[in-house]
Symmetry: C2
Subunit: 187 residues, 2 copies
């Protein structure tokens, strides 16, 4: 079934949470922007936390789809895909609505490691790492896991430097570092 109202609430919440934060975004604001009645929200979600979880799960799904598609479009052969990660990041960073990584932001607001919201964020990072590891294996590198770990760190570091410090060259700097790692891994 997947009620249209429910879908629309998730999309609206996703947008507002991403742009303005979780605690800073009230239920009333979400209802106002979505144009939906209060009880419609509480019929579909038990609480605000449940709505946050739904929004994060949608974000994970949408972001990883976009990311994998973009990496594999820019990198048309297996050995071009690891560097293409950073071209994809550069695209993301240039989006007008870029507000950092929603999962880093979520972990910042829900700090308890056993909070389900923190858990979904951890899972997202692990799925991204898994994808990068797969790319590294497809590229026939000697030590794919280590290279993937390194590139993951560079990618996350780039997100932070772009968002927190406002460094517009963060993605290309990370790409340079990644190329050094890759070169060392082939030798």
């Amino acid at each position: 079934m997947a009620s249209k109202k429910r879908e629309h609430l998730i999309d609206t919440a996703l947008e507002l949470f991403y742009q303005n934060g979780f605690h800073a975004t009230g239920i009333d604001r979400i209802l106002e922007v979505a144009g939906v009645a209060r009880m419609t929200l509480y019929n579909h979600f038990k609480s605000k936390d449940e709505l946050i979880l739904a929004a994060l799960r949608r974000r994970d799904e949408k972001f990883r789809n976009w990311f994998m598609r973009t990496v594999e479009t820019i990198g048309d052969t297996p050995d071009k895909r690891l560097p293409a990660i950073f071209d994809a990041l550069a695209e993301w960073f240039n989006e007008k609505q870029f507000s950092g990584c929603m999962f880093i932001n979520a972990s910042a607001e829900f700090s308890a490691p056993d909070d389900p919201i923190h858990g979904v964020s951890a899972e997202h990072k692990n799925l991204i790492l898994k994808y990068i590891t797969k790319l590294a294996k497809d590229a026939d590198l000697a030590n794919p896991e280590d290279v993937a770990d390194s590139l993951m760190l560079l990618a996350e570091g780039a997100i932070v430097m772009r968002y927190v410090a406002g460094d517009e060259q963060a993605a290309s700097r990370a790409k340079l570092a990644a190329e050094k790692i890759l070169l060392a891994s082939k030798a």
Copy 2:
């Protein structure tokens, strides 16, 4: 003068904001923990935002002092200091109260780039980068700025992977990657 009450309020706020977040920490809670009257806070700070700024400035000062001291203790010669960055991170990550980077967390909650709180966070990251660049120059590397950029990205990535994904090996993984970068930079 630097009133004792004022100092104590900043320290208490720093602790609570770091552990529980900024929006999630109310004025009442800070007053309760600090054991200070409401008007004492508002005599020293115009608003909650001003208190947040004071707490972040103190955190920047304390953290960078600790970081530089630790790096230079572990790395007793100039060429050992860049790798020592990641040993210092490992120490930090193992602290019982570790809750990620307070400035990344602050940027997550105050997303507008022109928000003073976001500005203080950007400044903190730039000061850390500046320090790493100084270390790279002292180590007589061919391209100290590039190496510093790379190591900064690895360090920030490690913070994210440790805090968001719970990876307890994040610091040592970052150190491995950094050593590859450093090796490539000496050849």
